[in-house]
């Protein structure tokens, strides 16, 4: 009697979380899967009552999504874009975190906030802002460096720039916080051994930071796979970004522009699966190194 009563308590405490999880995560996911296996069938003109009904089509939508060349081209574009963003953003974040952590830096507080601030600007606003800077007749930066920032090849760099600008601050903060958690006496020991600041950074700080670096990388991989805001907001300004530039843009287009919710559902499940594979794959590759001592 007493035992079972105590056994119920944890579930009681868990109830709010379980309810919220079910309502806002499990049910929508289940509904997406349901939608992905359906399709509308129209008869005749498709006008008027009863001309359109929903039918079960099994895995047809998935097969179509996997066979869609546009989607895979989108993946390729995002891969290139992602490599660019990940490398530059995380490199800069690490550099800034190390610089801020070094004892000699001045105006640390100010710099920290200044680097973090772009993260507080919503992606759409940031992209519009940069969009104005890229446009030929409005751009002040074109006077300095006159290239077509929205050209066929440059547009990827321009987009990556927006993402890096907005993302460095967050990642820097994560890394910086992790750095502050490292016991100071390690540095002192290294200094006594005659290590320079650079050597401390490379030999002590970065190895100690590895878990945080892994964490930020996984976050960034997921964010990059889902890239949507930057290309969507830049698209009206240039003819180099198609409506299926990134996989998520294709989902949006299918669902809300061409009105095919079913294909969109199937494609988004494919995207989720690929994100899962990529982020878990990355974790698996680095796990042994990163968490060896833990």
């Amino acid at each position: 009697m007493k035992r079972s009563a105590r056994g119920a308590w944890p579930y009681l405490f868990l109830t709010p979380a379980i309810v919220l999880f079910t309502l806002f995560l499990a049910v929508p996911i289940a509904y997406t899967v349901y939608l992905a296996m359906r399709r509308t069938r129209v008869s005749g003109l498709g006008l008027g009552k009863g001309a359109r009904r929903e039918v079960f089509v099994g895995f047809d939508n998935f097969a179509a999504a996997l066979a869609d060349a546009e989607l895979w081209q989108g993946w390729l574009r995002v891969l290139g874009y992602g490599a660019l963003v990940l490398g530059v953003m995380l490199g800069l974040a690490l550099l800034f975190a190390l610089l801020l952590d070094s004892a000699r830096v001045r105006l640390a507080r100010f710099s920290r906030i200044a680097i973090f601030l772009p993260y507080a600007v919503p992606g759409v606003a940031a992209t519009l802002l940069w969009g104005f800077l890229y446009l030929p007749s409005l751009s002040p930066i074109r006077a300095v460096l006159d290239v077509d920032y929205l050209g066929a090849t440059t547009v990827t760099y321009s987009m990556a720039n927006v993402a890096v600008w907005g993302g460095v601050g967050f990642n820097m903060l994560v890394l910086y916080t992790a750095l502050r958690a490292i016991p100071r006496d390690l540095y002192e020991a290294a200094r006594l051994d005659g290590a320079s600041e650079v050597q401390i950074a490379l030999r002590v700080k970065i190895p100690m930071l590895t878990p945080a670096i892994v964490l930020t990388t996984v976050f960034s991989i997921i964010a990059t796979i889902q890239v949507f805001t930057e290309p969507t907001a830049l698209r009206p300004l240039t003819n180099t970004i198609s409506s299926t530039w990134s996989p998520l843009m294709k989902v949006y287009r299918d669902a809300f522009v061409t009105g095919d919710l079913y294909s969109a559902a199937a494609t988004s499940i494919v995207i989720a699966a690929i994100s899962l594979v990529l982020s878990f794959g990355f974790l698996r590759v680095v796990r042994d190194r990163a968490f060896r001592e833990g």
Binding site: V42, S137, T232
Partner: protein
């Protein structure tokens, strides 16, 4: 919000905002002078509360006039962003089972609404007012069937807007044929290498649709129980290749409409014409305020000298949701809004629309403020409107318009022929209809 495409949260929203004639925000702020509207006949079903999705500016003021006079039918305006997004939102709401009672439906989106079974047939309710609209406009809400799916609110016949001062400066005559327009484009490039006569926008399928209509295109038609899809028909190819050629020889620019670049070019006098619709004054006054009084209007250039054809860019109707429990009340309000002289007067003054009823079109008096130098503005519009021809829109315009953007973006970027982009539109449209199971006549 109209100043440029970037103004809206997601720029996409505005892309098509501008396709709708109802949108033009040059509404003056004069208060409505007549507080009483159509007298309320006792509604048997008791007070009905209706919601109305619209993006026409100041619609709440117009609806207030109705609400004050009709305590039995109370309408609440819910302001929408407009354009393709608004159509998608309505379709989603209809699918989710909670659409508004009334919705502003652009003509090109109405067939998608009908195909989704999201709008009610108003045949009996609209029988008395059918005669107030031109046959062409009425066809847009019936698709040539027996049913009536909406009440026309405004229309967007296309005209040629041009910089009179710069035409005079360069000694250019107003082009009467597209041939002359092309010649004028080359002349402008010679006289002022920084300026263009016009631009081809790969972001505005609505404008291209209107130009194709002018040339006599029939993208969709219904024959019996099947659709005929002919987006890449001969007139459309002709229009596409015409503009493609001009862009290729750099006689015409390729800056999309409603972008900051375009605004700047308009303001700086680097764009001399804009083939646009009757609602253009509102756009020009907010996007190119510096050029006020310098623009004039003429009929669109013709494909054959002596013709008088135009097409439509934008325009919308008021549709009633298929799920509303107050269909009769909703139809009554929609009828008042679009046919009552006082309501139309308000629509013209407050929402700056070009009304759909034939009588109201000819009764428009004072030219828009931006065109105060052209007192016969509305007479010109009425003359153009008489020669404007549209076509039945298909059930998947979203697909076609999206294919336009992707296809013409690519054509501009790669320098490929425009007619290939038109073929891509046709292919995408047919493939999508086949996928859904629509009956297509070959």
């Amino acid at each position: 919000m109209r100043t440029n495409r970037l103004g809206a949260a997601l720029a996409v929203a505005l892309t098509v905002t501008c396709m709708s004639g109802a949108l033009v925000s040059c509404g003056s702020d004069e208060p409505a002078e007549s507080p009483e509207a159509a007298p309320a006949t006792a509604a048997p079903q008791g007070p009905a509360k209706l919601t109305y999705w619209t993006w026409a500016p100041n619609m709440d003021k117009i609806v207030k006039v109705w609400n004050d006079a009709n305590p039995d039918i109370q309408v609440t305006v819910s302001k929408q962003a407009g354009g393709d997004d608004a159509a998608a939102k309505y379709l989603t709401a209809a699918k989710a089972g909670n659409p508004p009672d009334l919705v502003q439906a652009e003509y090109q989106h109405l067939p998608s609404f009908i195909a989704a079974d999201a709008v009610a047939d108003l045949k009996t309710e609209t029988a008395p007012i059918k005669g107030e609209f031109s046959e062409g406009l009425w066809n847009l809400v019936t698709l040539g069937t027996d049913a009536v799916y909406g009440i026309p609110q405004d229309s967007g016949p296309m005209m040629l807007f041009y910089r009179k001062d710069l035409f005079d400066k360069h000694g250019i005559e107003v082009p009467e044929t597209w041939q002359e327009y092309a010649e004028a484009a080359r002349t402008v490039r010679k006289k002022d290498p920084k300026a263009y006569l016009g631009t081809f926008s790969s972001k505005d399928p609505g404008a291209f649709t209107g130009l194709a209509q002018q040339a006599g295109a029939q993208w969709w038609s219904i024959s019996g129980e099947s659709w005929k899809v002919d987006v890449a028909d001969e007139p459309t190819r002709k229009v596409a290749d015409y503009w493609g050629g001009l862009v290729k020889e750099d006689a015409i620019d390729d800056v999309p409409y409603f972008t900051p670049e375009w605004n700047k070019a308009l303001n700086d006098g680097r764009l001399l014409t804009w083939p646009s619709a009757v609602w253009a004054p509102g756009v020009l006054s907010s996007n190119a305020p510096k050029a006020k009084g310098k623009w004039a209007v003429a009929p669109l250039p013709q494909w054959n000298a002596g013709e008088n054809f135009s097409g439509f860019w934008g325009g919308s109707s008021t549709a009633v949701s298929a799920r509303t429990p107050h269909k009769a009340a909703a139809a009554k309000f929609a009828t008042w809004l679009n046919t009552d002289p006082k309501a139309i007067d308000l629509l013209v003054k407050e929402a700056a629309i070009y009304p759909a009823t034939t009588k109201a079109q000819s009764a428009l008096g004072e030219a828009p403020e931006y065109f105060s130098n052209q007192p016969d503005f509305w007479q010109q519009a009425a003359a153009v409107s008489a020669g404007a021809r549209g076509f039945t829109f298909g059930p998947n315009v979203g697909v076609t318009y999206n294919a336009f953007k992707d296809g013409f973006d690519k054509a501009l970027q790669d320098g490929t022929p425009f007619s290939a982009a038109v073929q891509a539109m046709q292919d995408a449209t047919v493939a999508d209809m086949r996928k859904s199971g629509f009956q297509i006549a070959s």
